[in-house]
Symmetry: C2
């Protein structure tokens, strides 16, 4: 038996991404905990920053009009005072409030102080070296928009506004269901022939956490439609469902059919290589990604479909991949009609294709620094060609 169909990689992704809505659950958190989170409200400045006229230089606050005619050879003399009045100046530091009546700061370098007399050697304009109220941020201004991913520097801006808590979207809860009667839990000693440690679920859980989600990694489920159904049904509180294994067309491959029976199976068989047996579905409005059990096929499906779906679900804005340009040391061949993910190692600007004998070779991913992605309509890339390597995070 073969796949009934194989859907173009990108088309399948669009189908998948349009089959569900981003989450709407919101929580209120202290800003200190919000690095990497997505804001769920427009943040409006409730104060001006700065909230007072501040000196922008170390020097002397003056009334600018009194420096008229000052120059290198013709200093104006002012008296150092504690209260500003005609004929005086006051010492200010960067950031200190401007004294009333003063309207400019003469830089330290343009002055000579002797006793309480200050010689001013430069004429300056009003407002020179003075930070106006609201210069950085104006009261009422939208300072961060809903949907923004918060970086530490954004949180610093929130802190500068005196904001303590903000509303962010909840982290998506992603249930991960490893299936396969050949799998045994990590920690078991002395594997029998045919037994394999469960690794795909663990790996997926760690990527979900890295991407900002909350992974819920279930125990291994054996290749039984009832058990798989049970596992899915009892985890429908999750925002997204990832399964691993059981997606091929063998006698023990039940996962896509179970997804179809509980919701909608959108796609089974996609144009990515490795990763063709991937299935995409939707149960109760929640995205379901069924990853092939072969480790490398699984990781490609997770990166290509899982990450995109996770980001849409969690309102996470797009971000460019980390890319390195390198020269291929040997030919790589794409699989016709498939978007091919070829693993390469990078050494001193050279991309070395990793010889692998199939999707089961997990170590080839660990040896790999990244993927060269070969589009469907390209036969491959030749030795000596410069290629873009998408780094594996």
């Amino acid at each position: 038996m073969m796949f009934k169909e194989r859907i173009n990689a990108q088309k399948a992704k669009e189908l998948f991404l349009h089959s569900f809505q981003p989450i709407s659950k919101i929580e209120t958190l202290p800003i200190e905990e919000c690095d990497g989170r997505i804001i769920a409200e427009n943040i409006i400045a409730s104060i001006d920053v700065p909230h007072y006229r501040r000196a922008a230089m170390d020097g002397f606050a003056v009334m600018a009009s009194e420096t008229l005619g000052a120059g290198t050879g013709s200093p104006v003399m002012l008296r150092l005072a504690n209260i500003m009045e005609k004929g005086t100046c006051m010492r200010v530091h960067t950031g200190s409030p401007m004294p009333e009546k003063s309207d400019a700061v003469v830089m330290m370098e343009d002055t000579v102080l002797s006793g309480d007399k200050v010689e001013i050697f430069a004429q300056i304009h009003p407002f020179k070296n003075v930070g106006a109220i609201g210069e950085d941020i104006q009261k009422g201004e939208i300072i961060l928009n809903r949907g923004r991913l918060l970086r530490p520097c954004d949180i610093a801006v929130l802190a500068s506004l005196g904001i303590g808590n903000i509303k962010v979207f909840k982290r998506p809860l992603v249930v991960i269901i490893p299936t396969g009667e050949e799998l045994v839990p990590r920690g078991k000693k002395n594997l029998a022939d045919g037994e394999v440690y469960e690794t795909n679920g663990l790996m997926s859980a760690m990527y979900i956490r890295k991407w900002g989600g909350i992974p819920r990694l279930l125990e291994i489920v054996t290749d039984s439609p009832d058990k798989i159904k049970e596992a899915i049904i009892s985890n429908l509180d999750a925002d997204m469902i990832l399964t691993s294994g059981g997606t091929s067309v063998g006698k023990r491959d039940f996962v896509p059919a179970v997804v179809g029976s509980l919701g909608k199976l959108l796609v089974h068989g996609v144009g990515i290589s490795p990763g063709k047996p991937t299935a995409l579905g939707n149960i109760n409005g929640k995205p379901v990604l069924c990853m092939p059990g072969y480790p490398v096929a699984g990781i490609v499906a997770l990166f290509f479909y899982g990450k995109a779906a996770f980001r849409r679900l969690g309102h996470v804005p797009d971000e460019p991949e980390r890319i390195v340009r390198a020269v291929l040391s040997g030919k790589i061949t794409g699989r016709t009609g498939y978007k091919t993910f070829a693993r390469v190692k990078i050494d001193n600007g050279i991309a070395i294709p990793l010889a692998t004998t199939g999707a089961g070779i997990l170590s080839s991913v660990s040896k790999a620094d990244g993927f060269v992605i070969i589009p469907e309509n390209i036969e491959g890339r030749n030795a000596g060609e410069e290629v873009e390597v998408v780094l594996i995070e």
Copy 2:
């Protein structure tokens, strides 16, 4: 008073990075907790993966010699059996152990099963569709080298080897000391004129955590040499020291002198803009970065010096920045002799320079998607030029 010197940005970095050694402290952790950590030992495979001969396809295990002459029009007939012997074949699934005596798997597609008779329509070679013992990983092989940053896919490989715990370098402990008598703690209500919320320390702490370190953010220290000295001395258990503020040449700028009195002040005044008042030092072999108090100068110093030092300290391998190419909508000017970090916003492939009136404009960082970095010997970049924008993480 002016800076005695200004050292080239890159030269200062090299001086700084060569003034200390990476940490040697190691801890043993469960692999599940090691995403993003750096391995402190070579990992050697203690088992073969797979540890048994496995079928690489769904189909029938056969003795390859018995398929001699089989073809589309001339099937070979074998008997479906439970024990392999001459004239028989056995059903296998991908990953299942190869029966003794069998040496190849005929794909499902090349067979027709009726009753206990299997017609084989293809002649195959020995070892075809069979995964050899150690095909993925060989016992004794170094599978991950000391100094590698662990990605989830690497941890999956460790899991596939049955490895439960590994040695990793400890996360560097970084003490962060915000200084400045103008600073007030977050949470205080109704700022007086001249008061500013502490944000640089908070921001630095969050970046340190993001980069994989353990931040220890101290309370605000006022502009007193004794208090600054006390804060540093009581935190010399840290692996790295970050201070913020008090690095200029004003009357209240004591930090570099204190660093010099406790250890070695390597550099004060560097060729980055904003960020010139940065100081770099070393106390007891530990790197000390003194960031300017102006928020944007501070962040540039943190990115350019702090991140590089942190990565060296923690054995973190270099990684390319996330970069976007965009066309400048307006001219940006570099400061002669300085490596200039110009903030830009990116909109649909257009990089829009952010008009700012100085290093104090923290909101310009929050509005910015990234920096266009203008080298020392370039005057600037013109509207219409394509530039690389280093995204602010």
